[in-house]
Amino acid sequence: MTFFKKQDLIIYALVLILFVCSFFLWGRTTGSTGDIVVISVNGSEKMTLPLNEDTEVLVNGFLGLTCNVVVQNGTVRISEATCPDKLCARHEPISKDGESIICLPARITVTVRSSKPSDIDAIAR
């Protein structure tokens, strides 16, 4: 009985390659602060909010599940959700360009973007 074989290294090397490649798949966070919040449901954009204005929006998602999106002090978070796992409500507030909070069951994504066009966005699109 063995837990590891020498040939396994092929697999772990493959995983490492996948890991490195996965960083280039989608526009990564640029590190700079974004200024707009894009809320999408089912893959289509529902609304855009300015990040510098404190607001609260109840978003209706898939299967009647809802998420309460709160914009506060230049950050955005999901304060309450009716989805079964409530993982989205546990996510820390986000503020950087490219960061997102996703509620899988409700199919809601909250993404921070910069309204100024950047090189990275141009490549990602």
């Binding site: 009985m1 063995t2 837990f3 590891f4 074989k5 040939q7 396994d8 092929i10 697999i11 772990y12 493959l14 995983v15 996948l18 890991f19 996965s22 960083f23 798949l25 989608w26 990564r28 966070t29 999408s40 089912n42 893959g43 898939f62 299967l63 079964p84 796992d85 993982l87 989205c88 546990r90 996510h91 820390e92 490219g98 960061e99 997102s100 909070i101 996703i102 899988l104 069951p105 199919r107 809601i108 994504t109 993404t111």
Partner: protein, 166 residues
């Protein structure tokens, strides 16, 4: 296949489905490890792997799919079930292929299966939800490897006690 052999196979598969179902339930009771969906131990994959190594490819696939559908309609919810089915399809295809190649340890088969499960789930959710979800891919590749390797080690130990492995 004689009647008694068929009965034997059906009994073992029923046992594996029951074990996988219970492990799914136990896992759903544990607090989430992170705010990122999909990071979990994947304990329900232990019976699937045991089925793969003691019964066969089709049997393992049946154990996996029946378990996901049962868990989906009872406690996990239909949305999670859809993502799980996508993940399980890719995971099974990869694990069956790797087992057929025959040179890899159960730990490696399970680790890569875990990675592929997460990739399949993300692929399904990026189609339904949108591309921002792909930001989670690097994290999910690492968590899939760690969880899969853990499940592989547990499975190896279990098979040893079942006297399948010397």
């Amino acid at each position: 296949m004689s009647v008694s052999q068929r009965t034997n196979l059906i009994t073992r598969m029923g046992l594996m489905i029951a074990a996988a179902f219970i492990l799914s339930y136990i896992e759903s009771l544990l607090p989430p490890l992170s705010a990122i969906p999909g990071i979990k131990a994947g304990l329900a994959n232990i019976p699937t792997l045991i089925a793969l190594y003691t019964l066969g490819s089709w049997e393992a696939a049946i154990v996996s799919f029946v378990r996901i559908i049962l868990a989906g309609i009872t406690f996990n919810g239909i949305p999670a079930m859809i993502y799980s089915l996508a993940g399980a399809t890719l995971c099974l295809a990869v694990m069956i292929t790797m087992k057929k190649i025959g040179i890899f340890s159960i730990t490696a088969v399970s680790a890569f299966g875990g990675v592929c499960h997460n990739i399949g789930q993300l692929a399904a959710s990026s189609v339904m939800i949108g591309l921002p979800i792909l930001n989670y891919l690097p994290v999910l590749i690492i968590s899939g490897t760690v969880a899969g390797a853990f499940v592989g080690i547990v499975t190896t130990l279990t098979l040893k006690h079942l006297r399948v492995l010397a």
